[in-house]
Symmetry: C2
Subunit: 142 residues, 2 copies
Amino acid sequence: MFVSTNTAWLDKMSFETEINGHFIILDADTTVGGDNKGPRPKLLMLSALGGCTAMDVVSILTKMRVADDIEKFNVNVGGELTEEHPKHFISMHIRYEFTPKPGKVLPLEKLQKAVDMSQEQYCGVSAAYRKAMIITSEIVIL
Amino acid sequence: MFVSTNTAWLDKMSFETEINGHFIILDADTTVGGDNKGPRPKLLMLSALGGCTAMDVVSILTKMRVADDIEKFNVNVGGELTEEHPKHFISMHIRYEFTPKPGKVLPLEKLQKAVDMSQEQYCGVSAAYRKAMIITSEIVIL
């Protein structure tokens, strides 16, 4: 399947990118001529991975009848960049943070199963990135 | 350098991701239980590449004193996904579209130089993706 997005110049270092009919402003930091009107493009790479695996995990945990017991679910993705140009990610770490609803206990083995299924079978962003860098993950129940 | 983004579950398949202090809604398509309140995470990968190289090119063309003669600049990034799970990008193509201001002529060799410098020296998204897939590009003056 072939998919695409379009990114149009607004002014200075700011651009508007269209994805699935939704519009997002991208901009550079003020230290490099931008106005910080939107996120840096490179960091979209982290949220692409976070969003992709987060949707997998919610979908799997819903089928496992675990999702209803979750109060909060955050996916924090950190990445290590090279010091030299072109500055690019050489590793990423995914931290899956679950908060149970009051009085509920989240079964760690099911959370781990959902994360493993996403990382090994479903998440296409992870599959692409793993060819280029190391991806690690951890699960935290708060 | 270590950087990160956080993606928080809202409801169903929708998430809010925070990047550089900016918030973007991500959501799945209605065919897979989402409400299309925001873009699909995987497609952020295309806009990460488009935005990254677009900022490089504007920055370089500004130094070359070419940017003032540009009426419009669009970067369209298309990607080919595998048919099998995990569905992931195996190639991307970047189309740089320039429209000159009325009465102005854009020098193709300078546009090509700016694109080459971005792809070979500056764009960290491209540097990471090239380890995982084929990246091609073309320049079109409209």
